[in-house]
C-alpha cells in the first residue's frame, strides 16, 4: 500500500514537473497569464491590469495557453499508455 502511494506521488511529481516545463515553453505573456491566474490567484481584471491589456486579451491568452497545455498532457498520457502496453497502444487520449 505504501509502495503504491509512493508511486502515485512520484507520478504526480513527474506530471507537475512536465507541466511546469510546458508552461515555461509557452509564449512569455501566456505563461505569465497562467502563473498569475492559477498560481498567484489574481482575478482576470487584476491580470489585465498587470499585463496592461484588456480582460478579453487575458481570456484569450488563458484559453490559448490552456489549449496548448491540454494537448501536451494528452500527448504525455498517450505516450505513457503506449509505454505501459509495450508500445502497442494506439488509442485516442481521453
Amino acid at each position: 500500500m505504501e509502495a503504491l502511494t509512493d508511486e502515485r506521488g512520484r507520478d504526480d511529481d513527474v506530471e507537475h514537473a512536465e507541466l511546469r516545463l510546458a508552461i515555461s515553453r509557452l509564449r512569455p505573456e501566456d505563461a505569465l497569464a497562467i502563473r498569475l491566474t492559477y498560481w498567484d490567484g489574481f482575478t482576470a481584471a487584476e491580470v489585465a491590469q498587470f499585463l496592461d491589456c484588456t480582460t478579453a486579451a487575458v481570456w484569450m491568452r488563458l484559453t490559448r495557453a490552456r489549449a496548448t497545455l491540454r494537448r501536451h498532457l494528452d500527448a504525455q498520457e498517450l505516450a505513457g499508455r503506449a509505454e505501459r502496453f509495450g508500445g502497442e497502444f494506439h488509442g485516442q487520449p481521453e
Binding site: 507541466l19 516545463l21 505569465l32 492559477y38 498560481w39 498567484d40 482575478t43 491589456c53 484559453t63
Partner: protein
C-alpha cells in the same frame, strides 16, 4: 470532468528558489516608483504597488525558466520607447442633446417588454482597435482595426478568430494603397479552436432580460473578478462587466435594454452629447467615471436610443502617455458592435 485547472494549480512549485536578486531589485524599484512599467499592449493604468509586491512575494515559487521569462517581460516593460508619435483615432465629435440621464432612464423603461423571452445567442462579433505601444517596433502611423468573432457551445468548446480590418487615417479616411507594414484587410491574424471545457467564458449562463436580474448577473461577474467591494457598483464597473458580456453573447433586444437600464441607474454616468459613431450610426454618448481598475482612463458609451442598445465603447487617456508622446485625451481603445 475538466480538471486542467486543478492540475495547473497543483503544479505550482511552492518551494522553488526565490527570484534572482536583480529581478527583486527591479520589482522593488517599480514598487517604489523609481521605474515605470511600460504598457506593452496599450490601455491599462500602471499596476499598483500592492500588486507588484504580491507578485514579487509569491514569485518565490517560480521555476528558473519561468522566472527568466517573467524577467524578460519586466525588462521589456521598463524599456523606454522611441520618439515617434503613435497614431490614435480622432475622438468622437459631439453635438448638443436635450437628453439627460433621467429622460433616458424614463425612455428605456417605457419600452414595451413584449419581446422578452426571445433569448440571447452564444457568440459575438465585434470590431475594435486598441493602442499598441511596443518599444521594439516602429509606431504605426495609421489605424488598423480588427474584427473578432467568437463562437462557443454549452460545453465551453468553440472557435475564435481575429481578422484585420482596413487601415485608415486618424480621421477615419481609408488609406490606399495599403501601407506595407499593415496586414491586408481580411487576413486572419489569430484563429483557434477550443475543445470541451477549454474556452474560459466569463458568462456561461444565459443573460437575463430584466434590469434587476441583469444587475445581479453583472454583480456576480464583478464579485468573481474581485471588483465588488460590498458597495453598489458604479457605472464604470458595470461598463467593464458589460463589455466582457458583449464579447461572448449577442444580446436579445430585451437584454440590451436591461443592460442600458443598469448603466443608466448606476452612479457615475452622465450624458456628454449626441454623436455619429465610427460605423456612421447616430447615438447618445454617455460619459462614465473612471473606476479603480481604469484609473487614468475615461470611458464613453454610445447608445442607440431607438432600439436601446449599446453601439460602441471608447476609452481615452486622461493625462496622456508621455513616454510614447500620446497627448492627453487621446483615444486608446474602441469597440463597436454592429
Amino acid at each position: 470532468m475538466d480538471n486542467l485547472s486543478d492540475r495547473i494549480r497543483a503544479a505550482n512549485p511552492e518551494a522553488a528558489q526565490p527570484l534572482p536578486e536583480r529581478v527583486m531589485a527591479g520589482l522593488d524599484d517599480i514598487m517604489a516608483g523609481r521605474r515605470v512599467p511600460q504598457r506593452t499592449t496599450g490601455s491599462r493604468e500602471r499596476v499598483t504597488h500592492r500588486r507588484w509586491r504580491s507578485v514579487a512575494l509569491t514569485g518565490a515559487g517560480l521555476s528558473v525558466v519561468a522566472t527568466l521569462a517573467i524577467f524578460a517581460v519586466v525588462l521589456v516593460m521598463v524599456t523606454r520607447p522611441q520618439s515617434a508619435v503613435a497614431a490614435t483615432p480622432r475622438p468622437l465629435q459631439l453635438t448638443e442633446t436635450e437628453s439627460t440621464v433621467q429622460t433616458l432612464r424614463e425612455g428605456v423603461m417605457s419600452v414595451s417588454t413584449s419581446d422578452v423571452g426571445v433569448g440571447s445567442t452564444r457568440g459575438a462579433t465585434w470590431e475594435g482597435w486598441f493602442l499598441q505601444l511596443d518599444a521594439d517596433k516602429p509606431t504605426a502611423t495609421y489605424i488598423q482595426p480588427q474584427r473578432t468573432q467568437v463562437e462557443w457551445n454549452p460545453d465551453l468548446s468553440g472557435t475564435s478568430r481575429i481578422t484585420a480590418g482596413a487601415p485608415m487615417t486618424s480621421e477615419g479616411t481609408s488609406i490606399h494603397p495599403i501601407p506595407t507594414t499593415a496586414d491586408q484587410p481580411g487576413t486572419t491574424l489569430y484563429e483557434e479552436t477550443w475543445g470541451p471545457g477549454e474556452l474560459a467564458v466569463p458568462y456561461p449562463k444565459s443573460p437575463p432580460e430584466h434590469a434587476a436580474a441583469m444587475r445581479e448577473y453583472l454583480n456576480s461577474f464583478l464579485d468573481e473578478q474581485g471588483l465588488a467591494d460590498g458597495d453598489a457598483a458604479t457605472a464604470g464597473e458595470y461598463l467593464f462587466a458589460v463589455t466582457a458580456l458583449l464579447q461572448v453573447w449577442t444580446l436579445s433586444d430585451a437584454a440590451q435594454r436591461a443592460v442600458v437600464q443598469v448603466l443608466l441607474e448606476a452612479p457615475g454616468v452622465e450624458v456628454s452629447g449626441a454623436t455619429t459613431d465610427r460605423a456612421g450610426r447616430n447615438g447618445i454618448v454617455l460619459a462614465v467615471d473612471p473606476t479603480s481598475v481604469d484609473a487614468g482612463y475615461r470611458s464613453q458609451v454610445v447608445i442607440d436610443i431607438e432600439r436601446w442598445r449599446i453601439l460602441a465603447v471608447e476609452r481615452s487617456t486622461i493625462a496622456g502617455i508621455p513616454d510614447f508622446h500620446v497627448p492627453a485625451g487621446s483615444i486608446t481603445e474602441y469597440t463597436l458592435w454592429r
